[in-house]
Symmetry: C2
Subunit: 304 residues, 2 copies
């Protein structure tokens, strides 16, 4: 029998779903112990519990981000898989919700309503604008697809991949500032790696035009927070929408809470709906039992 | 020579654009007089100036809506054409801006930021929802196309046409309440006709589920304002986004300004950008000079 333990805020939901599926040989253990072969759950709940599990062979993360398990001090003698393919559509909705809100001035129009002012000022449009994506994996590719649907030009900044048909121009390595030049929207969707840490810093922000909107749905450490604060306070860019932060929840005393033209969304851009996620686990469990390569396996060195 | 007079808020822009085009035989008159054969402009600026023009043959409206010229007391011995095909993309952006804002709770999240509350509550999605369009002309068709892109089911309520491939189910005539049943979003894009006047009334609103969002980008008279007020105050529907009103600008004392869950946008959903509009006039002018049928001609009886 194959022993699974669940370490998730949605444990009860996953238990109920898996009970219905009747997966072959699967036993869900209430306690985490010697027999445990598979763990399913959130990396933040798992990372400090894996040292003494002799039979651990696979951890399936319910999240895309697996940073807590990438700490070099932790063991790496098991297969780590993350959740992919289920966030792209939701995160793309998020990005376009905020880009459309920006162009259609929906906060300003709501303010006008409070003041009973008939604000017939001309609206903007996302059509014809240029969006730049830092990171074009499955999530970035869905954003690129949506951007093309709405008539935008799409730039992609990637380590080396150039395989998304909806990206019009690719940039790599030292072409970061060229990539930023004349962008209307800059969206970070990259995982947290050495290369992306503080990639959104003073240089990149200075290379953007004053009309630019920054959206960070990737990882908090990608943003140099003090450089961004300065850029917003000095109106070097138009606005920023941040879903992720260096430290979460963001401390109450952090200046982001009250920075003008900074919108915060509390790590909600890509919720992990259990009903979508469980399909990944089921598919991977079948592959696991057949001793085949698992989907979405993480390379510990590369970090994604 | 063919004499044109311009009656538009954007007269200077149109003059400059037409000067560049050098259209054959065209003279733009500064004054409106006997020689005037064509008028280009906003119906609200035109309707009270056409009685004494012996040579008037064609009016090209810069708007989609031509109600001021449909008054039965006015002459109808000329060709009336409106602007079409240039509003669909912008108005579709508007509709999806507000639907995404609703699902992603962007006003609530902004409020949380003011109060420094880390609001990690789960987000919604437009994917999988059902949208109903009253009116599926060129504008409605673009909304249907966008809805399919985002994975929605699309219903269309039309007089008789069924020619949009992105509509999953069509409804006509007395099927209005069936059309409304279990709709997540109801969007009115219909022109103002006898049939659409107060179509969004107590019966239709009662047939919608409590989660429904109403968006009116068609014409103000389509909404029975007191029925909508009651539905919102009694929470029979979730919210309404209104771009058009029975009377515009909306009088300051109108209860809509302060009705909960009612968002107003001051007739800005489909701005008429002169650079887009002028292409319609240029094409129609060429057809006019060749004595061919004009594009987008209005049927005075039908009203669109």
């Amino acid at each position: 029998m194959t022993h699974l333990h669940i370490l998730s805020a949605d444990e009860e939901i996953y238990r109920a779903m898996l009970a219905k599926e009747n997966l072959p040989d699967l036993i869900i253990d209430d306690q985490l112990g010697e027999s445990c072969e598979i763990i399913l759950g959130e990396p933040s709940r798992i990372h400090d519990k894996i040292a003494d599990l002799p039979n651990l062979r696979w951890i399936q993360s319910t999240w895309a981000g697996v940073e807590p398990l990438l700490n070099p001090a932790l063991r790496r003698d098991y297969k780590l898989t993350n959740a992919r393919g289920i966030f792209g559509e939701l995160m793309s909705e998020y990005v376009f919700a905020y880009l459309l809100a920006h162009e259609r001035r929906i906060f300003a129009r709501a303010e006008a309503q409070k003041n009973k002012i008939w604000d017939g000022s001309l609206t903007g449009t996302i059509r014809g604008k240029t969006i730049g994506l830092i990171g074009v994996g499955t999530i970035g590719a869905e954003m690129a697809r949506t951007a093309k649907f709405f008539g935008l030009t799409v730039r992609g900044y990637t380590r080396q991949s150039e395989d998304c048909p909806d990206v019009d121009h690719y940039y790599h390595g030292e072409e970061l500032l060229e990539f930023a030049n004349e962008l209307d929207y800059l969206v970070n969707v990259a995982p947290n790696t050495k290369e992306t840490r503080k990639i959104i810093g003073a240089d990149l922000l200075a290379a953007l035009p004053a009309r630019a909107v920054l959206i960070n749905v990737g990882r908090g450490p990608a943003v140099d927070e003090s450089a961004l604060l300065q850029a917003l306070n000095e109106k070097k860019i138009a606005s920023a929408v941040l879903d992720v932060f260096e430290k979460e929840p963001l401390p109450t005393e952090h200046p982001f809470w009250t920075t003008p033209n900074l919108t915060m969304t509390y790590h909600t851009s890509g919720p992990s709906f259990p009903s979508k996620f469980i399909q990944i686990f089921i598919e991977n469990y079948r592959l696991y039992k057949e001793d085949k390569p698992l989907k979405y396996q993480i390379n510990f060195e590369r970090g994604y």
